[in-house]
Amino acid sequence: MTAIPSAERALKRGGILMAIGLAAVAVVYVRALVFTPEEATQGLAQKIFYIHVPSAWVALYLAYAIVGIFSVLYLLLKDPRLDLVASSSAEVGTVFATVVLITGPIWGKTVWGTWWTWDARLTSTLFLYFIYLAYLVLRSAVEEPGRRARYCAVLGILGALLVPFIHMTVYLFRTLHPMPVVLQPGRPQLPGSMLITLLSSFVAFTVFYAGLLARRYAWARLRAARAQEEADASR
């Protein structure tokens, strides 16, 4: 049996990458809070941007996109490892989406004067969040692995299809939410020091996500390998 030791090694590597990512996020905290100038009109509340935007980047454009891509691949190739990556990414992505949906209203309260408004960007993001909560509930509700993987792949793909729509909501609808300042055609509309903080936050949050995903996926592999070993032993 080589599956278990190799999953255990991957678990350790994931843990190390996770710790590096957490440290990188801590560095971004210090840079954003201490070494980045205050924005002229929004004041200190603007600094929420350095955790809200990279979290949204990771949740929607990385984690949920990976769920969609790996779910499509699963339906094509039927390799159970693809399903494990998709489900790991859905769980980690939901953590980042939780941060997006908490830091957004905190910023909105100071700049818009309201915690929440039912505009297109906010509402569609909340619905996406519900879809992936349903995804996680569905995973624990279906016992049979093949069927669980198939159902979840379909839901994962449908959820990921919302991501490009959510990106476009600020253009398609009249919305309060600010336009993209970096992920848009043309030059980033930010002064240099703020841009460096934002870009380093993108890197740090991406590394942190990669670490969490690696750890979560290795654990899923380990559990699958142990279940397989038990099934083989009882045969």
Partner: protein
């Protein structure tokens, strides 16, 4: 700028930090090799 804005900023950073740290620790503990 009203000083309250700093409070909102701190609240957002603390909330995000707590969530990320809590999930990391939870993932670490439940995936520990037993």
């Amino acid at each position: 700028m009203p000083p309250a804005n700093g409070g909102y900023m701190v609240a957002a950073y603390v909330a995000a930090g707590v969530i990320y740290l809590a999930y990391s620790v939870w993932l670490y503990w439940r995936s520990r090799d037993r």
